[in-house]
Symmetry: C2
Subunit: 209 residues, 2 copies
Amino acid sequence: MMTDRSCNEFLDILASSAPVPGGGGASAMVGALGMALGSMVGNLTLGKKKYEQFQEDIKVILKEADVLQKDLFALIDEDARVFEPLSKAYGLPKNTEEEKSKRDEIMESALRLACSVPVKIMEKAMEAIKLHEEIAVKGTRIAISDVGVGVLFCKSALLGASLNVFINTKLMKDKQYAGDINSMTEKLIEEGIKRADTVYNEVERMLKD
Amino acid sequence: MMTDRSCNEFLDILASSAPVPGGGGASAMVGALGMALGSMVGNLTLGKKKYEQFQEDIKVILKEADVLQKDLFALIDEDARVFEPLSKAYGLPKNTEEEKSKRDEIMESALRLACSVPVKIMEKAMEAIKLHEEIAVKGTRIAISDVGVGVLFCKSALLGASLNVFINTKLMKDKQYAGDINSMTEKLIEEGIKRADTVYNEVERMLKD
């Protein structure tokens, strides 16, 4: 498991020419880092009299954030797992027409599988962005910069994962299927940027005021 | 040392109410992840006949990228170290005029110190963005999405660190000093966004073409 390693080992394997982890797994990690920052703000708000009215909400947010952080972290290993068949498909022979046709078929389903985890990373990153919208309202002002950094990282996870969708759909023969995935991805990008930037810009404005 | 821990432990401490690591250390980590992705693309280009003309350049890039990744990673612990005096200054008594004045003085120098590491993270992230500009031109096309994700994370590190500059300069009494740091930070943000977005948008265009 990639995720049992130390931060330093993880970075070194990422930097190497090993096929995994790559941009997908790294995006999941950045999403988990973003959600962890949101949790930190929640934890700093717990038990604070000034935020008495939000205590119950903060407890719910913290539970959801913990699940999201763990889900995103688990997607690092899942991304590595679904990349393996694609990595193998690339190596299949393509000398005869029969081999080519067989390879195309295996490749197509390997591409669909390899796409599935970046899509999941995007969905989880979107949920994490939505939680930050609530943390920005109910979390302690003392850690407002961390809300901004947290939501920025969740947006980066969403965008980073989207590039890992596009690199797979680009190679698909089934253009209808690829187009559908791309449309869904574009929608998630548009909504995610809009939501995350609203929180980030508000934080930046408060800090520079 | 925070950086000896496993990825999972790091995330859990980040999510906790412990004063460090916070948004600054997390930004350094995201910068290191971004630079590691750039190195991965370099390593995948090494020895490839198609990129024969860039082999010597790639070797130089890889050396610089390795130093930057390690520098950014080391800034996680350095950020924790410079935050400690500020954390202590907050706890100083402010009952009498004398105590207040003493506290203000200690606070001011603690804020300057706490600002210094986010500024360093921004500078290193900018260097990492510049290396990605070169990797986008000379690196293997097979990993083009990773160049996009890498530069996106370096930009996020730069922006995340900037919020940690602003939260400190906001509290400084010396408005001249704070204004100078803010101006420099704004310049780094403007240049970094422009450079990183150019690389990212070009990668996205290629993937969606």
